[in-house]
């Protein structure tokens, strides 16, 4: 398992097609009633090609696209009961709307231990079907109690 944590770990790139219904379901779960997430006509009137994704929707792309909780736990050898989400960053370079297919390339940014906590940061580059960079997502996962080998 440790060998996976060496520098420049790349997970298999994955593709994900964004659907209007998934965006609506995601916005509803947050309780976000912004009409641009529910009605394509409203979204177009506001200048979008179609229904745009909410700012944090990339998490659904990642989890449903292959980087789900169980995969991360196995990949990094984490104790599921001790894992917390420490931080999250998004950089938006281009519009992502319903109907788009994005390709996600994942890379391990860092993995280290500090004060009995293990920090794992992964970065994901999103490209649209024209090969243009549209989004960068960076997640930091914290495992309380350090590694299981202690």
């Amino acid at each position: 398992m440790e060998s996976l944590l060496k520098e420049d770990v790349r997970l298999k790139p994955f593709r994900f097609t964004i659907e209007r219904g998934k965006i609506r379901e995601f916005a509803m779960a947050i309780g976000d009633s912004n009409p641009i997430y529910y009605d394509a006509g409203t979204a177009r009137k506001e200048g979008y090609r179609d229904i745009p994704i909410p700012p944090t929707f990339p998490t659904a792309i990642e989890m449903w696209g292959g980087l789900d909780f169980e995969t991360l736990i196995k990949l990094f050898g984490l104790d599921p009961l001790k894992v917390l989400h420490g931080g999250q960053e998004y950089r938006y370079f281009g519009e992502i709307c319903a109907g788009d297919t994005v390709t996600c390339d994942t890379k391990l940014i860092s993995s280290f231990e500090k004060r009995n906590l293990r920090f794992i940061t992964i970065g994901i580059h999103y490209k649209n079907s024209d090969g243009k960079d549209v989004l960068y997502s960076e997640s930091t996962i914290i495992e309380r109690g350090g590694s299981k080998n202690e």
């Binding site: 998934k22 379901e25 995601f26 509803m28 779960a29 947050i30 309780g31 976000d32 912004n34 641009i36 506001e46 200048g47 979008y48 745009p52 909410p54 700012p55 944090t56 998490t59 659904a60 990642e62 989890m63 449903w64 789900d68 909780f69 169980e70 599921p80 009961l81 001790k82 894992v83 917390l84 989400h85 420490g86 931080g87 999250q88 960053e89 998004y90 950089r91 938006y92 519009e95």
Partner: protein, 127 residues
Amino acid sequence: MSELKMIQKPGITHTQLVKYAGASGDFNPIHTVVPVGEKAGLDGVIAHGMLIMGMAGEALAEWFPRKDLRKFKVRFSKMTRPGEKLTIEGRATGEKWEDDEKRLTGEVSVKNEAGEQKLSGRFEVKI
């Protein structure tokens, strides 16, 4: 600089966490299965950090056009449990140039009724 309009969310429910698990694909049982939360020493289930960030994102798209958002970065500080009522606060902190466009920089935070901060973050929007 200028404060943005505070947004109040209804109390978080266990059902909402189940809905968010399905919507986001994050099925970590710590968020939905009470005995698992207890086993983890959390006194029950806790909300997904990303649900709380989603609420901050809702505020950002209410304060500014969604398409103008360029950066959004948060740190999760405290856990959130069902029953808590959260508010989202934000303020503009300055202006900058990046990628040949003028941007407004700002801070966003999410707190419960007791004022406990759940998340703090920064954002940039094109202006």
